[in-house]
Amino acid sequence: MAQDLRVPGLVARGRPVEILVGDRALTAFEGETVAVALLAAGIRHFRTSPVLGEPRGPYCGMGICFDCVLTIDGIPGVRACQTKVRPGMRVEIQAAHGRWEVEQR
């Protein structure tokens, strides 16, 4: 059984949503952010820093610090704490600045 750090009771979460983190399928819930979905599954290493190659994850949790950025649906540098999960979302742990995998508009 995969780790689930969600606290039961008091609130009912939204409907289950399947997302992909690397090649691992995770069940999140509608209304959750990517940061919440990953932390709930025990994933804390969101990216590797560009200069020193150190592991980073959420720090401020409210959109200020940009430490939780990772690659979402081919777009690097997206704040996990400000992005809601969507069905079929592809999340990649980001090395340095990441790589665009979509056609740039």
């Binding site: 008091l10 959109g63 950025v69 809601k84």
Partner: protein
């Protein structure tokens, strides 16, 4: 460009209160908030897809937040609330550029109330960039709003009453809390009780949280703080120990170790002043309320005509003060628009002014508790990263000083600190204090890392699309 009689930026307690009073007086008001629903940090709403089953178990903040949201709804259609909208620039005083999803647009505000709130103050120490180190505010978002445990065993360190609140919330969520470390002294001494006389609600809250810790068997150490976080890919061990009671200098030789996978740090808050700065408002430095704050008069008017600033974004003072400041600004804006006579406006402001006055002595106690002391500057070692984004070590800053940098702006150009994605929001307050100490200069002389638009990230594609739309019109 669309013109609005009043725009309120920020949907926390101060912004909601401002919009409510303006709306009640009949002033057409647009409330822009970057969260999915109004509430701000303290009254942050649950995600819309969540359903509340046990409101009574969710505590006072939930109930108070719901009450303000209901009052806000009742002011429709005078007040229009738009969520998920970030204001990314203010130019020529009151011209706003907003971004929402992939769209941007401009609004001209005849009057503008800034209620931009505050953020956790970042204090660098060795290992503070490891995953598993969370700010107190960030930990609250996880536990309170999303009901997720950000770790299994926690150490809570920093200063101020929020530490107790967070420790209780973590404990109730099932996180084991090893200890709470308060860098300062015991919060309420007997000599201060008279200043708090009458504020029974606050005293009861403090007592409740303290009792909560006691009954959970969580030790609370005053004049102690975190020294270092260690671990390979995440926090595994934390070193902590005593600080001197006056200046909070860490006594590193007396360090103790505790094994935890979560370190929550809360060293108070810093006002979000970027938009006020871009609007051209004059600012002054006051370390008792978080650092740089807009200069205001007693009706919350800044130095730019028609621009008000309220709540923690204008000086950290907590939710009770924020609400009253919001009310005063909302009423004054309605008076300014000619919807209230000066006598009516004065009548409506009176209860809020009286409440602010009675909170003044509480503020003095809290300000003294929360003001961080310079000993915390000694936590970072030369190899500690002081700028998380650009990965600048303290040694680089020391070199910049040796090379003759005398303010934040030149240090930024020399080291790249503050040039990253967060635009210096994390590093500026601490580095400013560091430069003041080492150069023996005043905050105004050391200056700031100037905010640059957009203050939230917007892609070039989005900006270009908005430009095309504007040209087609």
């Amino acid at each position: 460009m669309i013109t609005k009689p009043l725009v309120v930026v920020g949907g926390g307690p101060a912004g909601m209160a401002a919009a409510i009073e303006a709306g009640r007086a009949g002033l057409q008001c647009l409330l822009l908030d970057e969260a999915p629903a109004p509430g701000g940090q303290i009254y942050r709403a649950f995600p819309q897809d969540f359903r509340v089953e046990g409101p009574l178990g969710l505590g006072k903040d939930f109930v108070n937040g719901e009450a303000l949201r209901e009052q806000l709804k009742a002011t429709a259609p005078a007040v229009e609330t738009r969520s998920d909208v970030a204001v990314v620039n203010v130019s020529r005083g009151r011209e706003l550029l907003w971004a929402s999803g992939g769209a941007t647009g401009s609004i001209c505000a005849e009057q503008l109330i800034l209620a931009t709130g505050a953020r956790d103050r970042a204090v660098p120490f060795p290992g503070w960039t490891l995953p598993g180190v969370l700010t107190a505010g960030g930990a609250q978002v996880m536990v309170k709003t999303y009901r997720v445990k950000p770790g299994s065993r926690a150490l809570v360190a920093g200063t101020g009453p929020l530490l107790l609140v967070v420790a209780n919330q973590l404990h109730q969520a099932g996180v084991e809390v090893a200890a709470v470390l308060e860098a300062g002294r015991p919060w309420i001494s007997l000599s201060e009780l008279p200043k708090l006389w009458g504020e029974w609600g606050l005293l009861r809250d403090a007592w409740t949280y303290w009792r909560g810790l006691q009954s959970a068997g969580i030790p609370l150490h005053f004049n102690h703080t975190v020294f270092e976080a260690r671990g390979k890919d995440q926090v595994e061990t934390v070193l902590y120990g005593p600080v001197d009671p006056v200046r909070w200098h860490p006594q590193k030789t007396a360090a103790q170790k505790v094994d935890v996978d979560l370190l929550v740090v809360g060293f108070g808050f810093v006002p979000n002043t970027e938009l006020g700065y871009l609007a051209g408002c004059g600012h002054e430095y006051d370390d008792k309320v978080g650092g740089w704050i807009p200069i205001r008069d007693e009706r919350m008017r800044t130095t730019v005509p028609g621009v008000y600033s309220v709540g923690d974004g204008a000086g950290v003072a907590g939710v009770l003060v924020a609400v009253e400041e919001g009310r005063i600004a909302g009423i004054t804006a309605a008076e300014q628009a000619g919807l209230l006579s000066p006598i009516d406006a004065a009548d409506r402001r009176e209860p809020a002014e009286a409440r602010l006055k009675s909170l003044q002595s509480v503020r003095e106690v809290l300000d003294d508790i929360s003001r961080i002391r310079e000993g915390l500057l000694d936590l970072a070692t030369p190899s500690t990263l002081v700028c998380r984004c650009e990965e600048v070590r303290l040694s680089a800053v020391q070199r910049a000083i040796d090379e003759g940098c005398k303010d934040l702006q030149s240090t930024k150009l020399f080291t790249r600190l503050g040039m990253g994605a967060c635009q210096g929001r994390s590093c500026e307050p601490h580095l400013g204090a560091y430069l003041c100490q080492h150069l023996k200069r005043a905050p105004a002389a050391v200056g700031r890392i100037n905010p640059q638009p957009p203050v939230r990230p917007v892609t070039f594609g989005t900006l270009a699309a908005a430009q095309e739309t504007a040209e087609e019109r």
